[in-house]
Each structure stands twice: as C-alpha cells, then as structure tokens.
Symmetry: C2
Amino acid sequence: MTIEEQVLLKVKPTHEERELITEIVAKLFQKVNTAAKEFNIPEVEPKLVGSAARGTWISGTHDLDIFLSFPEDKSYDELEEYGLMIAREVAKDAEHVEERYAEHPYLNMQYLGFDVDVVPCFEVDCSSNIKSAVDRTPFHNEFVKERISGREDEVLLLKQFMKGTGVYGSELRTQGFSGYLTELLILNYGSFIEVINNACKWRPGTTIDLMSHGTVKHNEPLIVVDPTDPKRNVAAALSINRFAEFIDSCLSYTEEASMKYFFPDAQKPLDDTEVEEMINKRKSSFVAIVFPAPDIVDDILYPQLHKMENGIRGLLKEYEFSVLNSGTWAGENAVVLVELMSSELPNVKKHQGPPVWVGSHAIAFKSKYRESDDVFSFYVENGHYVADIKRKYPDAKELIENRIHTCALGKQLAMSMEQEFTILVDMEICSIKDDDFRIFLKNWSNIL
Amino acid sequence: MTIEEQVLLKVKPTHEERELITEIVAKLFQKVNTAAKEFNIPEVEPKLVGSAARGTWISGTHDLDIFLSFPEDKSYDELEEYGLMIAREVAKDAEHVEERYAEHPYLNMQYLGFDVDVVPCFEVDCSSNIKSAVDRTPFHNEFVKERISGREDEVLLLKQFMKGTGVYGSELRTQGFSGYLTELLILNYGSFIEVINNACKWRPGTTIDLMSHGTVKHNEPLIVVDPTDPKRNVAAALSINRFAEFIDSCLSYTEEASMKYFFPDAQKPLDDTEVEEMINKRKSSFVAIVFPAPDIVDDILYPQLHKMENGIRGLLKEYEFSVLNSGTWAGENAVVLVELMSSELPNVKKHQGPPVWVGSHAIAFKSKYRESDDVFSFYVENGHYVADIKRKYPDAKELIENRIHTCALGKQLAMSMEQEFTILVDMEICSIKDDDFRIFLKNWSNIL
C-alpha cells in the first residue's frame, strides 16, 4: 500500500460518517425553514457551505457551516435581528450555544457531537458585489462543488500534509493555508502529488489564476486569484515563513516520502533538566515577559502578541541588546520569550556626538557631557566628540520593566500588562509548567 | 603679565643660548669645509636649516640640522658616498654617532650637548624639481627665513600650545602639525591668537594657499599649499583626530585661556587599584596583545602597530565581538589594547542561509547543517534557512590566539609576533608595570 493510500485510510470519512452528516444537516435545514416561516420571513434559505458541503472534510472533524441566506433588499439591521432570531430558534436543542462576532454576530453551537456555525448572510448576484465578508463564502462553495467531484481524496491528502507540517489554517495565529486555498491548488495542479511537485518550484510572487481574470498586483509571497473575485488574493493571509516552510516540506517529501509528514510524532514537553540543558548548551540569555492572557479570540490575541514581540525586540535593540530569536506563546498566561546574546551589557556606553567643527551643537554637546558625573571619558574620534557614558540600562530585565510602557501594545494586551506582569530570566522560565509551553520551547532545539 | 608673556618667559631662547648656537654652528661649518676640501669636493656647501636657522626653536631643545648641499650634476651614489665621508669626518669629535636612514643615509650625532643631523642633499633650482625628498627643506628654510622676522615669538607660542595639547609633531606616531606648518600658519594669520581664533572656524577641507598657486585637489582635513611647491600639501600628515583636537583646544582656549594648554600637569601613572577601579566602573572587557617591540624607528613601528590594531578590530568584528575602543602603546614591549562589550559570546551563533526557494544552493545548505552535530536548531526565518550553530570562538582570547596570523601585519611586527606574544585579559594587564603604559591607560578616563 502506498503512503497516500495509508493516509486516506485514516482521513477519508466513512460511509456512516457521510450518512450521519446528511441526516444532521437535513434536521438543521428543517429547523431553519420552520423558524423562518414562524417569524414570517420565508425568503430566508439555509445553505450548507464549507468542507462538509464539498466532501472534503477530514474524517473525525465535525464542523458544519450553515449559512442563512437573506434577500439582498434586507437591511443590515434586519439581517442581524432576524438572522440571530432564527439561529437561536435552531439552537434550542443544542448542548451549548455561544454568540460570536466576525463582521456580524453569528451563533456557534454544539449539537449532537457537531460544532455548528449558523451565519446570516446576504444573497448577492456575484462575489464582487458582496455586502458583508461572509457573503463571499457561498460563491466559493459553488465554485468548488461544481469542479471538485472525483478529486476529494486529493484535497484530503493535501490538507493532512499541511496539518502534519504545521502550515494549515489561515487564521492569524498560523497564517497558513485555508481549506478553500488547498481546494483551488488541487483544481489548478490536478492532484496532491502535482501540488507537491510544483510547489518545489514556487518562489515569492508565484501566481495562480484559474480563471485568468486577475486585475490587481499583489505583494504577498503567493498569489492565488479568487476565481469568484478577480481583485482578491485567496492566499493573502499566508506568511512568508509558512510559504517557505511548505516549499521546504515539499522538497523533503519528494526526496523521501514518509507518513511522518502527515502524522508527525507527538511532541514530548521538555522537563526542567532539558530546559537547563538547552540553555547551558546555547549559553545565551533567555528573557520571558509573562502576564495573564486576556480573554479574547486568537485572531485578536495573536496579532497583539506579535506586535508586542516586535515592540520588545525594538526596545532591546534601541538599548544595544542583541536579539537572537524570539517567540510568543499563549495558554492561561501569555508569554513573549526573547533570546539574547547576553541579558547584561557593560556599564559603559559609547555615545557619539557631532563633529568638533559644527559650532554651537558641538559646544553644547561638550559642555553637557564633560561635566556630567556619568561620563567615564570624553574624547575625539574620527573628528566627532565621543562620550563614554554610564549606560542607563545594563540589564535587559530592568530595561523591560521600566520601558515596556513605551512599546505600542494592542488594547487588551496593554490592559492585561497594566494589571500584572513578571519577567523571568534563564532558568526562571521553568516556573512555567504548562506542557504546551514546554513544547513551544522545543523551537530552540528543533531541526526541520 | 598675560598668559602669553608668561609662556614666552619659559620658551624663548636666551641671548646666551643664541650665542652658543651661533658658535657651535660656525664650528660645524668649518669642519664641513675642511673635510670637503680634504676630499677634493669644495663645491659642497654646509647649510643650517630648521628652527635653529629661523630663530623659532623652543628654548632648551638643542636640535641642529646641517645640510650638505651637493651640486645637481652629482650622482646619487656620489651624494651618498661623499656625503657620508664628510659627515663622518665632521663627527670625529662627537660624543656619539649613528648612521640613520630616510630616503638616503645620514648621520646623527651628539655634539657638545646638541643633537645634530648631518644630511647630504642636492642643490636644485626650485622645490618642484627636487631629486630627493630632503632637497625641499632648504627651500622651506629660505621661504620662512625671509618672512618670519619679528614673528618668531608667535611661532613659539603656537608650537608650545600644540605641544601642550598633544598635536605637535608630523611624524607617524603623532600625525600632528610640523614646525614648518606652524610657521606657515603664523605667516598666514599674522599672530598666535589669530591662528587660534581662525582655527575655531576650520572645517575639513579648509584651504590655506599663501601664494595662491595651488594646482592639485587634496583630500586631507586641512590643506596648506606649500609656498615652494604648488602640488604639495604641507598638512598632508595631519590626521582627522589631531585636526579636530586642535580645533577643540582652540575653542576651549578662546573661552578661557590658561597656562595648562601650554604646560599641562604631569600625568600620574595609574596604580593597580586605579586600573581595577577603571575596569570595574566600565564593566567592559579589556584584551591586550603584548609582544617585544621590534627595534625599528617610530615612523616604521607606529604604522605597523596601527595596521595591527585595525586587523585585530576587523578580526573581532568578523567573529561578532563588539569593539568599543582600542589603542596601541610601545615601550620595551608593544601592546595593542582592545576594549570589548564582552570578551565572551554565547555558544550559539545564528547562521543565515539562502532562501528556501533558490534550489540547489538551498538544498546543499540544508543537508550540510541539519546533519551536523554542531547545530542546535534549524528553521526558516523570513523565507531563509537559518541554522543556530555552535560558535567556533566564543572567547576573544582564544580567537586572537588562533587567528591573529590571518591579520595582515607589517614585516617587523609579524616577525616579533612569530617569536612570542601574550594575551592579557582584564586585570591581567596590570602585569605591565611600565609607567608610560599606565599613563596610556588614562585614555580610558581622560576628559578633554
């Protein structure tokens, strides 16, 4: 049996799974129709979209996307009001219900073992005339459904390959490939293995345009023009690192295919001894900024964490610390972890002033520094005045403690940081016991 | 009494001193003439040049430059042979004689308390037609002698100001102002105080051309066109630092004149406790490369020391050490002293490879590093492969010990280094007890 056949054995939904989904969807549709009639808006039509609708879901993932399609002449307010009314009626028997927000509010519910989103949208005539971002989804759904038949297995293989290699998911935490994007890649190249082979030759700027109708220049690493909207890049969320990592995985897979790309071994968290070993081997300095993770969705949390990571890197560089690596992690607490050449700098800091001959500016510099108590020496170098002064922050921990407030921070992170934060240095990071954090630390000893 | 009058009391030669010089010079001239006749070359004429000839010597400095002027039709070989023959005859009664070399050999002798150079040269018709570098001196001598009368005191003040502020001397050790240059500055600006006032407004590129006959573009910080040679910059040897330091001293002097510019307090060498204090205050790392100073003149030694200093700075930077300051010193031993942010770096070194998508070069990089034992982690960053590898030289001392031979070194220094060298770190530099070295260390706590 080939590797791909082995993978399909694990990820292809069984006949029973398919029948169960059909049955559940029928039940949900009936509930929508009943509620719509009850509220006197029979024009509202339920639509199944997403991988369940296209037969491209990975066996065992029980996600359903039910869209409530409203006529275009309804107002945004009506859409929100009636949409949520119908959704709540549908969710009456659910085990758990939660109102969530994208551009508009929608309902998420747990129902007979399924994770169901019920999302109100407008029925528009074409994808470039949408009134709300979610209105595009039914067009994507139609486009794929009409063409994917017979190639569902290829989509499943590609999705599982991307999951296994860590590049699947277009949300802001991962910045990888969306389900729709994998389907378009299969439609474009024909099969899983052809996507892999072709991706080996991708470069930043590679463009795929199934309908040959693209109209806009995009700057993202990969451009896949939306077949339902010539202006849109379906791969806009893909970061340069996920792009490069996917190419790297494809190169390795073509050299030697293996199940491990689809189903990597489970990672074992580092224990304290292993953390100590890692730090001692590298002999660099680790500084972790730790604070309670704010209760916000990942798509808001992760961009704020990345902004904070960049802010802290910038702060450290401004004060002459050399940053080697950094990363962010979030569980109950959130962590920005920075690896430095050293968390301690000498007391002395070279402060270059203006050239001696520029007049008042030079005279002012000299009279300021030569009389300061914090000047070790004052001299001329390459024609410039230079003061060797006492460094304000020779210690990275102290710098961050005192200057973190000068970093631009996202709203919720800033609020959380104002409450409380701790800075851990080197082995002190072992006070974070969370298994997932200890797996995150493996980035510092992972080999691609 | 003004400061300037006080200075002149100390530096102006007395009547007795002048008479002594006249007497000594007459004796020497007579010896030259007698010897020339004896060797049957009566055309050779003795000339007194330099500050003694112009009345611009600092009281107490007993230097005499006697040139032996040969007719232009003599060959280089004749100049050398007869020149040295006459000089040796003149030096018969000297207390000490030494043959020295510039472009041609000459004699240096100690005679009745004077340091006398006897230098053979050609008598040429104008300064731009010289056959040997020393032939220019008689022209300089004539030019100044004809014009300086009445301003000798101004020259003395400027020379002493430059000595006191450390910028006097055009030899390669100092790279400052020559005697001829100070005389031209006085001729140009009229007086000591006018040189000081005008130098406050100097900038790199400032040009002084007494004869308005300059023909060549020069790139040095100060351009003083030689009145006897339109192509030559008399200030060519002046470094940007001596230039800037002189401007700085002039600025300070015009703000508040003081004897200390002419006669600074004698420097007290740092004792071990003070060296320790200096290092502890700065908390940087000091690394000294120490070796026996080769027995060569300063004009050869110092350029080689500076070349070595630059080579070592380059080596350290190449291996990611941050150099703060450096300097060279020579006594019995020679020292290149480097101050680093830290003499120790972490074991880990970030090694960036090519972008993932460049093909064979990327594949080669990956297969080289992912399988090496000295790789801590291998990952993708900004689309590039990056290997966090084991640093070859985490210790500056070890780096220099092992790689100093890759620095381009001057001939005599390289030979000396091959024999023996020691590397001292931090407080170990206290094993160098030399007073002058301990004064050199004061650069690290001097305030301009």
